[in-house]
């Protein structure tokens, strides 16, 4: 066999992209899936891509999902790479989740409470039986009549605890501009604003697993779901020429406030503490995982012994971004033969030395 230099990388790449496009389209005898269908019928996937892609745009997220053949991390990557090219012309006012138009609102720590428990569209009490009727196309659901949503603000569960002074005050808002890790490199020690930003766009599976690990004893902080709310909030902007806020649209958010037991430390009295989760779209798993990990990362601040992975701020923040993680893991597919060659030479030399040493000992004996 003669040595053939690996030429033709360009042709190979073109051919691969062509093949990929055909694989994406799938069976041509079936109708092509539309991005509007994805946005409207695969909402949870769209929400995940918007959260991890750090960009609230259901239509673009749907396009990314279609383009990535449903690979949600790839889709989030597409959205991020697009997002980073967009100009920044303004900052919104902080969104007010107190005024959220609630679709769902539950508390696990009170049976009933002002504002009520609103179950909303949840899988929680479904029986996980494959619904074969769904496999049949054009199944029409007869909708139940919808009750009118309450337009009044719903008080926070944690505010009820706060009235009794049983929970730490919520984070103090400062005039300082919050950090932004999309503009500045992450630096340690990282403050809570940057930590929450990082978690809000972190990998859902990573947040879930780390949150789970705290429940199983790796940095336990005895969590209760104080409240989860899902719904729409208005995004407001103050144009400098007007000087007062105007609403530029609404977005769907999931918010989770965990209430955690805390027996007190040298500096803090016994009280409940908070873990906070907030994310784009409807994803309670993400918001809850985030709230658990947020609370775990406050270990040092609260004078707890920080020993578990979820409590290690550097560990969590350096590894929660799945775009970074997938890139670095998958880059191992790139050629490494130059380094491997130097390793080959080194290991050959080490083996030669070791063999010579063995032979020498045997001759002596």
């Amino acid at each position: 066999m003669a040595y053939v230099a690996v030429k033709g990388g360009e042709r190979a790449i073109d051919a691969a992209h062509d093949w990929l496009a055909r694989a994406r389209r799938g069976d041509r005898s079936l109708p092509e899936i539309g991005t509007a269908q994805i946005a409207s019928q695969l909402g949870r996937a769209v929400d995940r891509v918007m959260a991890e892609g750090s960009c609230y745009d259901p239509d673009l997220a749907a396009l990314a999902i279609k383009q990535a053949q449903g690979d949600l991390i790839e889709a989030a990557f597409l959205l991020r790479a697009y997002r980073t090219t967009l100009p920044r012309f303004a900052h919104s006012e902080p969104v007010e989740t107190d005024a959220m138009l609630l679709r769902r609102r539950i508390s696990a720590i009170y049976k009933d409470l002002p504002g009520g428990q609103v179950l909303g569209p949840t899988y929680d009490y479904t029986h996980r039986l494959l619904d074969f009727a769904l496999a049949a196309e054009s199944l029409e659901v007869t909708p139940l009549p919808l009750a009118a949503a309450s337009s009044e603000d719903t008080p926070r569960v944690t505010a009820l605890l706060d009235q009794e002074g049983l929970i730490e005050p919520s984070g103090v808002s400062t005039e300082a501009e919050p950090g932004d890790l999309t503009r500045d490199a992450l630096a340690f020690p990282a403050e809570r604003d940057v930590r929450l930003q990082s978690l809000a766009r972190g990998d859902e599976g990573f947040l879930l697993a780390l949150g789970y690990s705290t429940q199983r004893g790796y940095g336990n902080n005895h969590p209760f779901v104080g409240e989860i709310r899902v719904g729409e909030v208005a995004v407001e902007l103050v144009p400098p020429e007007l000087g007062f806020p105007i609403t530029i649209g609404t977005i769907t958010l999931t918010e989770c406030e965990m209430v955690n037991q805390f027996s007190g430390s040298k500096t803090e009295p016994p009280q409940f503490t908070r873990g906070y989760g907030l994310c784009f779209g409807h994803s309670e798993r993400r918001a809850m995982g985030m709230a658990l990990v947020d609370r775990a990362m406050r270990a040092e601040e609260l004078g707890e012994n920080a020993t578990a992975p979820a409590q290690d701020i550097e560990f969590v923040l350096s590894h929660c971004d799945n775009i970074e993680a997938t890139g670095f893991v998958e880059h191992l597919k790139l050629p490494h033969y130059v380094d491997f060659q130097s390793e080959l030479e080194t290991i050959r030399r080490m083996r030669a030395t070791a063999t010579a040493a063995t032979v020498a000992t045997e001759t002596e004996a």
Binding site: I13, T182, T326, G327, L334, V338, D339, E345
Partner: protein
């Protein structure tokens, strides 16, 4: 390419990166944090190098991109295409013709000149990362120039194996001050960094760090007086051009142990082959 700025990044971002580069040049070997952006290529595939290249490219630049020393490896092709598409600049495979060379894992065999810039893609900019996980901690070690940990690692290597076992990404001292990762180039290439005439820039996209070696700066591999730094290279000559001074790739020819050793720097090898043919024709 329509809809995008010259060389993809917007001018604000380029300015931010250029500031980081200037700071890096002013403090040779020091890692400067920068607000790295998501690029349309994945992290780990050269996003740091791409951002640095995008920030320094001008319309008259000629770009060469290599991966493992070769211009025709798929990732090198992909990055070269990216800039041909987004900046519309001229590209080349000839080291001597390039004004900017972006590289992964190699330094070209042909010595670089003062009018050239080499941009390294860096996966892990922190040379102490394998010895100390916390970046807060390593930052302090750099600030105090406290590199005893690395010397201990090298000493332990010698005690165990009789020699230092690092064969690539060999830690270097830059300008007698900062310990630096030269990126995963083979130890064979490390001496080329010493007092190189060209400006050397390093970009780590995922870790959001930029660092630099200005021209003619001292770059010394870490070693001991009685165990000086040693190069590793396959002892063979190149099977295509006969070079004995170049870094070689080992190509598996069959399943019976057949091997062919060829230059990893494809431009260098091709140049020598055509020179040989000319000589043969003249003879």
């Amino acid at each position: 390419m329509s809809g995008y700025n010259f060389a993809y990044l917007d001018e604000q971002t380029k300015r931010m990166i250029r500031r980081a580069i200037l700071k890096a040049v002013a403090i040779p070997g020091h890692q400067v944090p920068f607000g790295g952006r998501e690029m349309p290529l994945p992290y780990g595939w050269g996003t740091g190098g791409i951002q640095v290249t995008a920030a320094i490219l001008g319309p008259s630049d000629v770009l060469k991109v290599i991966d493992q020393g070769a211009d025709d490896t798929t990732n090198a092709v992909s990055i070269r295409r990216f800039f041909a598409r987004t900046a519309g600049i001229e590209t080349t495979t000839h080291t001597a013709d390039a004004s900017v060379i972006q590289t992964r894992h190699r330094i070209p065999e042909t010595p670089l000149r003062a009018d050239q810039i080499i941009v390294y893609q860096v996966p892990l900019p922190e040379p102490l990362a394998k010895l100390e996980q916390s970046r807060a901690e390593t930052r302090q070690m750099h600030a105090l120039a406290e590199y005893g940990l690395m010397h201990v690692k090298l000493y332990e290597d010698i005690a165990r194996y009789g020699h230092i076992s690092i064969s690539y990404d060999y830690p270097v001292m830059v300008n007698g001050r900062y310990l630096m990762s030269p990126s995963p180039i083979p130890a064979f290439d490390t001496p080329k960094m010493h007092r190189m005439a060209a400006l050397q820039l390093f970009g780590a996209g995922r870790e959001k760090r930029i660092y630099a070696i200005p021209p003619h700066t001292d770059v010394k591999p870490l070693d001991f007086d009685d165990h000086p730094f040693r190069l590793t290279r396959a002892p063979q000559a190149c099977g295509l051009c006969g070079a004995r001074d170049s870094y070689l790739d080992e190509v598996v020819m069959d399943d019976r142990g057949g091997r062919l050793f060829v230059c990893s720097d494809t431009d260098y090898c091709a140049g020598r082959q055509s020179m040989r043919q000319d000589e043969d024709a003249a003879a």
